[in-house]
């Protein structure tokens, strides 16, 4: 029995704070990922929803050409939107798990550990991002089957994966913040449900901004989902491009994500009081 490690923090500032943050985030993420692998049916049932959109909505509108998407085929236009939608939907109810963990007592245990709050939030966000990625694989496969003109080079695929993870992390942290604010499952369901659909419809996921009434255009410019859709469109589709440029999209997503992590880390402690 060595007592040498009793309560001694890892030595060195960098080791303690920077690497510690990484280690702790990773530990949390790893456990969350272990859980995803155990519920493959959930991944599949959640993939039904986007599949319906792609097949029903996409196919018909591609034929009728009722939505003006310029040179792009509508199905190609829609696929990134549907992918973004599935990222949003799989992440937005993440807060329920946070409330559930509080009701059980798991949160108490995490909060008394030496891991920083931000590393806990970050780890959970990354795992939510990877959960979204698992779903993205299913949707991309489906899109390929439906004949969407996907880019298949490694760089693009990696870019898509990165953006999907970032998007999942962003919306799950958003959900985390809401959970810390409303604190009960019932209110969370109410608020979460009320947010999801408007976020989806007030974005350029299924129709271009030019088609929207002006007030809706304003809202969609403030909607992070729009930037997620833009980035995916640029990375995923042959000849696809966003409206604001890939760099801007990524910067906006990253900035919003980091701000949300900061807010969530600050609110996290309050959930057990």
């Amino acid at each position: 029995m060595t007592s040498s490690t009793l309560g001694t923090p890892p030595s060195g500032w960098v080791n303690r704070h920077v690497l510690g943050f990484g280690r702790h985030s990773l530990a949390v993420a790893q456990m969350e990922i272990a859980k995803i692998g155990r519920e493959p049916t959930e991944l599949l049932t959640r993939a039904i929803q986007p599949a319906l959109w792609l097949i029903v909505f996409g196919q018909v509108f591609t034929r009728t050409r009722a939505i003006p998407t310029g040179t792009m085929r509508y199905l190609d236009y829609l696929a990134p939107g549907v992918l973004a939608q599935s990222v949003l939907f799989s992440a937005i109810f993440y807060g329920l798990a946070v409330i559930w963990e509080r009701d059980l007592g798991v949160v108490h245990k995490l909060l008394v550990s030496p891991a920083s709050r931000s590393s806990l939030v970050f780890g959970k966000a990354i795992s939510a991002g990877l959960r979204a990625l698992a779903q993205a694989v299913i949707i991309l496969a489906l899109a390929a089957v439906l004949g969407v003109r996907l880019r298949t080079d490694v760089m693009s695929l990696m870019g898509v994966a990165l953006v999907v993870v970032l998007g999942g992390a962003l919306f799950s942290t958003f959900s985390f913040v809401i959970a810390c604010l409303v604190k009960t499952r019932e209110r969370f369901m109410g608020v979460g449900q009320v947010l999801t659909m408007p976020l989806f419809f007030a974005s350029n996921a299924i129709y271009p901004l030019s088609m929207m009434p002006p007030w809706l255009r304003t809202i969609s410019a403030l909607n992070p989902l729009t930037y997620l859709v833009n980035a995916l469109r640029a990375l995923m589709i042959e000849g696809g491009e966003g409206t604001a440029g890939l760099g801007t999209d990524l910067l906006v997503l990253l900035a919003v994500f980091l701000v949300l992590v900061g807010i969530a880390a600050n609110l996290y402690e309050g959930i057990v009081r």
Binding site: T5, P9, L26, M31, K35, G105, H108, S113, V272, R273
Partner: protein
């Protein structure tokens, strides 16, 4: 191990520790000194302020006033240092049911920076000690109540804390499981030379497990001492029930919020 001097300071020291919730004073100028190496029981009716005290000592809740040190570190000024020195088993279930026992332990080991080389050995050791080796790969949600509690204690011990906090550790367990948990606790105390603080409202638990007791009542300390001392103070043939009744007089006989009951029942149901 010469650089490692044995602490003569108390494991837990509070001075006028106070916590208010609005008008309500949950913990009222608490002065508590817990010597190193003992099992200390915080006894009292629901609403006496036991859990609030533990939450302050474990840095989950900032005190309204007063101060507290745990293993020599101030809970307000050095929360990070305190967190490294303590283990905590909350009243609610803190093991993750969707993970296996092994994974739960691994998560704790990583969050507490147990050196990577030692992780596997310590986890195996903990599993064996708690009698969970066979169940290590099973999902925790399939565990019995007693197994869950033993796993949680094992998690809290992995980083060899100086002070272990347990909030109502055997609530909702049937008698057999309780005895097993008590036995493990007594053994781990000797094995790791640590201080244990438990809260309970159960006389049996206080009597069988604790070296010293503090009876809390309405947020204040009503009495402290060994079980024998406390009995003697009340009367020649007093039982611990009598001691409790004597020092908890005038308590609102129905303390404990609705939430406590729901929590306890949920805990009991999940463990049970």
């Amino acid at each position: 191990m010469s650089e490692f001097e044995l602490p003569v300071r108390p494991a837990v020291l509070t001075q006028a520790l106070t916590r208010r919730f609005g008008e309500l004073v949950a913990v009222d100028r608490l002065d508590l000194e817990i010597a190193s190496g003992i099992i200390f029981g915080l006894l009292g009716p629901n609403g006496a302020g036991k859990s609030t005290t533990v939450k302050m000592l474990t840095t989950l809740l900032p005190p309204s006033s007063g101060r507290a040190t745990v293993a020599g570190h101030d809970v307000v000024r050095e929360p990070a240092a305190v967190r490294r020195q303590i283990g905590y088993v909350p009243q609610l279930i803190s093991a993750d049911g969707a993970l296996s026992g092994y994974e739960n332990l691994l998560l704790s080991a990583k969050l507490y920076d147990v050196p990577r080389k030692e992780q596997a050995a310590r986890i195996d050791d903990a599993l064996q000690f708690m009698g969970l080796t066979d169940a290590a790969r099973a999902m925790v949600r399939t565990y019995s109540g007693g197994m869950v509690r033993r796993l949680e204690v094992a998690q809290a011990l992995l980083h060899r804390p100086a002070v272990l906090f347990l909030d109502e550790p055997t609530i909702g367990l049937d008698p057999m499981a309780r005895h097993a948990v008590w036995e493990r606790l007594r053994e781990s105390r000797t094995r790791y030379a640590m201080t244990v603080l438990i809260t309970t409202h159960d006389m049996d638990e206080a009597e069988q497990l604790c070296d010293r007791l503090a009876i809390m009542n309405g947020g204040r300390l009503a009495a402290t001492g060994t079980v024998a001392e406390l009995k003697q103070r009340v009367g020649p043939s007093a039982t611990l029930d009598d001691v409790f009744a004597h020092f908890a007089v005038g308590v609102i006989t129905e303390g404990g919020s609705y939430r406590d009951v729901v929590n306890t029942r949920n805990t009991a149901e999940r463990l049970g």
